[in-house]
């Protein structure tokens, strides 16, 4: 029935700097099924991209994965030799980046950038790889594929570049497709087209998708399950419908109230006061306590674990009994 393509358990990433060890991703766990999408939301800097880097074993120095396990199709990636990892990246697990303007090599034609990805993983001729690349360019809805094949990124618009990045990610039919804010840098109409394209891909290729965004509206459209992150921790993990029907964590509630059009009554935009704490000055208790309207003495002194039921996990003491807490 449902087939697990990726399982992440207790993944932690930390940066080892002169100011000390900065925990950046803290004990993240989830499993991803074939043809499903897991959404990851959270404010800027909460560790979404670092989670991705941790999964791909590509955390930049001075950071590294400090614990946990990442199993891709049953194979452990943590501690796998770099050569073998390279064989997985771009073929079994592929990544679409946040920044289409800078994530392509400015000096290489788009066609080559796709075909070199194919050639890195398959023993076929250059001509065959080029043919397949051309076909992919067509598949992601680019008009005049031959022309674009021979274009360098500088000749294309942001939306077109992102399609090239997507074609590149797809070229070896990955089991897992990670989209790290794929539409943040694009304008709204292009954004809608790209989102539809990603959903088509999920359907046609059967890939499991990890979709990262800080846009709750987009999450609602794209995700099956949603993981809400705050300061490197998962604070809520639940099916998307339940997330919007009954958000339990005060942070999630805040994020939902931030969506334009979801405002309570007066039409004024809601904002969550304060900002994500610096990693070298984390509060002693719950990481969200300094910004939480419900914070108690206990929240400030003690850090909550991931509580609630298996179907709806929340990192908040208010949910300790496992039952939902009424939205106030």
């Amino acid at each position: 029935m449902s087939e697990t393509v990726l399982s992440v358990e207790h993944l932690s990433v930390a940066f080892f700097t002169e100011r000390g060890v900065l925990p950046t991703v803290d004990d993240v766990s989830f499993t991803l099924q074939k043809s499903k999408t897991i959404g990851i939301v959270g404010e800027s800097g909460c560790g979404k991209s670092m989670t991705v880097n941790g999964i791909l074993q590509m955390v930049p120095a001075p950071g590294r994965v400090t614990g946990g396990s990442v199993k891709l199709g049953g194979e452990e990636l943590v501690g796998m030799p770099e050569k073998k990892l390279a064989g997985k990246r771009g073929s079994e697990i592929a990544l679409i980046f946040q920044e289409p303007m800078t994530s392509l090599n400015p000096l290489m034609t788009c066609g080559r950038q796709i075909s070199e990805t194919i050639l890195a993983h398959k023993r076929i001729s250059r001509a065959e790889a080029d043919k397949r690349a051309l076909h992919l360019i067509e598949q992601v809805g680019i008009p005049m594929p031959e022309k674009v094949f021979h274009s360098i990124p500088g000749e294309l618009s942001g939306g077109m570049r992102q399609r090239i990045v997507i074609a590149m990610a797809l070229c070896n039919n990955p089991a897992v497709l990670i989209c790290d804010e794929p539409t943040t840098a694009l304008d709204v109409t292009v954004q809608a087209q790209i989102l539809r394209l990603i959903n088509d891909i999920k359907r046609d290729f059967g890939s499991g998708v990890i979709f990262i965004t800080h846009d709750m509206g987009v999450i609602r459209q794209m995700a099956d399950d949603v993981m809400v992150m705050y300061a490197g921790q998962v604070v809520e993990y639940v099916h998307v419908d339940e997330l919007f029907r009954n958000p339990l964590h005060p942070y999630t509630q805040g994020l939902i109230r931030c969506i334009p059009g979801m405002n309570d009554s007066d039409g004024e935009l809601y904002i969550i006061e304060g900002s994500v704490p610096m990693r070298n000055a984390l509060p002693k208790g719950c990481l969200f306590a300094p910004r939480c309207p419900y914070a108690t003495e206990r929240c400030r002194l003690e850090r909550p674990g991931l509580l609630g039921t298996p179907a709806h996990r929340v990192r908040c003491f208010r949910n300790e009994d496992g039952k939902g807490v009424e939205k106030t």
Partner: protein, 309 residues
């Protein structure tokens, strides 16, 4: 692109023309009379006058210049005052030495500099990087004539097979090319490292890695090619100084190159030789800069497009 090329060539011609005027008049205005030098201190004024007349030096300067430049355009650079040989043949001989020395030295410099720069960048911050960069700073700070003398003493005098003067045998290239090459290798290494580091942090390198490309391909195809532009600039500047003749190195190793030729003949006021030499060097510099511009466009298609880099 074609239009751009035409513009560049015209500009180059203009620059050369200006240089020819400036050198000509400066050489003729600075004090020191070649004829007085030629005939000795207590020469007969009448004799001096005759020689000046024979050499065409009594004509108005502007006329002399016009005669010289028309000659130059048709390949006749005149005759040396002192050696009575055509300037062009003297230049060919001297430039031959300088060009051979420059080519071999710079090949050494490129091979060393690029590999050191790349290796240092890939090892940023660790002991390998620090060692290589310390060497590079030493290489830039040590004057190459000093390195040359040190090499002569410690290698040349010890191994008889390695000559310390001239460029007769292939082995004779070793010491001068090392001493010259090391200095340039050091500056190439530094710019390569800096440029590589800048590229390494860019998103598309992360893409290359996420695509599962081999380390080798990521470094050579994606990093290095994108790091090339600043390196080409440095290479262009280096080559122009090399072709003007590395006077000190040439004199330490007793190589009769452009540097030696120009210095000798400036002291003697052998104006046609100096004028011809300066023009050849200037033409070469202009050509190198033109080549550098073309290389930029070849490496980075965005420049051809007038694009966004």
């Amino acid at each position: 692109m074609k239009q751009y090329l035409i513009k560049r060539v015209l500009l180059a011609a203009g620059i050369l023309f200006a240089i020819s005027i400036i050198t000509f008049f400066v050489l003729n205005i600075i004090p020191g009379d070649p004829v007085a030098l030629m005939l000795g201190d207590n020469a007969d004024p009448q004799a001096i006058e005759t020689v000046r007349h024979n050499l065409g030096m009594d004509k108005p300067l502007v006329q002399q210049y016009l005669e010289w430049i028309t000659g130059f355009m048709t390949g006749n650079m005149g005759e040396s005052y002192f050696q009575h040989k055509p300037v062009s043949s003297m230049l060919v001989t001297s430039f031959g030495y300088t060009a051979r020395l420059a080519a071999v030295s710079y090949a050494v410099a490129l091979a060393l500099g690029l590999s050191i720069g790349i290796i240092a960048a890939l090892n940023r911050g660790n002991a390998i990087d620090h060692t290589l960069m310390t060497l590079a700073v030493a290489g830039i700070s040590a004057p190459s004539f000093w390195v040359a003398i040190v090499l002569q003493i410690f290698i040349g005098l010890r191994f008889k097979a390695i000559p310390i003067s001239g460029l007769g045998k292939p082995a004779a290239y070793l010491l001068p090319c090392l001493s010259l090459g090391m200095r340039y290798a050091a500056s190439i290494a530094r710019i390569t490292r800096t440029s590589m580091l800048e590229v390494m942090n860019q998103d598309f390198i992360r893409t290359a890695r996420a695509k599962g490309l081999s380390r080798r391909r990521t470094v050579m195809v994606h990093m290095f090619r994108n790091a090339l532009i600043p390196i080409i600039t440095v290479v262009g500047t280096d080559l122009t100084t090399l072709f003007a003749g590395s006077m000190l190195t040439e004199s330490v190793f007793n190589i009769p190159g452009m540097g030696a030729l120009l210095v000798d003949n400036i002291t003697k006021r052998d104006i046609p030789v100096v004028q011809g030499g300066v023009m050849v060097v200037a033409m070469l510099c202009v050509l190198i800069y033109l080549a550098v511009d073309l290389l930029y466009a070849a490496v980075d298609p965005n420049i051809r497009l007038g694009g966004d880099r």
